[in-house]
């Protein structure tokens, strides 16, 4: 019972963060939301009994992907809507 509620809450958080990625115009904030999303995905993998996938998702999604997105934002631009130099 409680597991079900926990699971549903995590799923709710997933949709919420994904929507935030969609709506944020500040790309840094969107990247942070994507990092949050990765945490929750890893948690979901963990709940679904896939700890090895959770490790990969934690290392890749939360650590490296956030990092390379931030480097790319630093190299290009931070705000959506002012894409031109």
């Amino acid at each position: 019972m409680i597991e079900t509620i926990v699971h549903l809450l995590v799923l709710f958080g997933l949709v919420g963060t994904a929507l935030m990625v969609f709506f944020f115009r500040d790309l840094l904030a969107a990247t942070l939301a994507a990092g949050f999303f990765s945490f929750l995905v890893a948690l979901e993998f963990y709940i679904l009994q896939a700890p090895d996938v959770a490790i990969s998702q934690a290392a890749i999604g939360a650590g490296l992907t956030t990092a390379i997105f931030i480097i790319a934002i630093r190299a290009t631009t931070r705000y959506e809507g002012e894409e031109s130099r």
């Binding site: 490790i55 990969s56 490296l64």
Partner: protein, 155 residues
């Protein structure tokens, strides 16, 4: 540019820890959740930690892109080589000829829940090591080349 002294000191202390922990994950790939890719990613993140705490310029002397590139290729060659040894023995590609052989990693594995022994599973730990080396190099190269692409205002 460097981050503050506190971060640098912390990163320098954390680096050996991350490295040994990543190697632990790599080597225990057949016993725990983990394996070559996960361990390699952990180690690569450790390298990235050092790079980001110190500046990119400060560490390029110690952490060279060439080394990591070579490491990446070497890991993949090891992987395919380990798979291809079986052909020279007259067995199919990827045949796990080390399993149950009694030599290194050669103990037999009991079926069902057990306590786990490092010295089992044959070719799989070796392939995990190869993949770990490869991922370690590959992900570091990715971050290094992305960082080197940044234009620095203060050179």
């Amino acid at each position: 540019m460097k981050m503050s002294k506190i971060v640098r000191t912390g990163a320098n202390i954390l680096y050996p820890f991350v490295l040994i922990f990543g190697l632990y994950i790599v080597l225990h790939g057949h016993l725990t959740p983990g394996g070559g890719f996960q361990g390699g990613a952990v180690i690569a993140t450790g390298v990235v930690l050092v790079i980001v705490a110190n500046s990119y310029e400060a560490v390029t002397g110690m952490l060279q892109k060439v080394v990591f590139k070579a490491q990446e290729s070497l890991g993949l060659l090891l992987f395919i080589g380990a798979a291809a040894i079986a052909i020279t023995l007259g067995l199919p590609f990827f045949y796990n000829f080390l399993a149950n052989s009694g030599s290194i990693f050669g103990l037999s594995v009991p079926f069902g829940p057990n306590h786990g022994d490092l010295n089992t599973a044959g070719l799989i730990p070796i392939m995990n090591i190869a993949v770990g080396i490869e991922v370690w190099g590959g992900l570091t190269v990715i971050i290094l080349s992305m960082l080197s692409g940044l234009d620095r205002k203060e050179a």
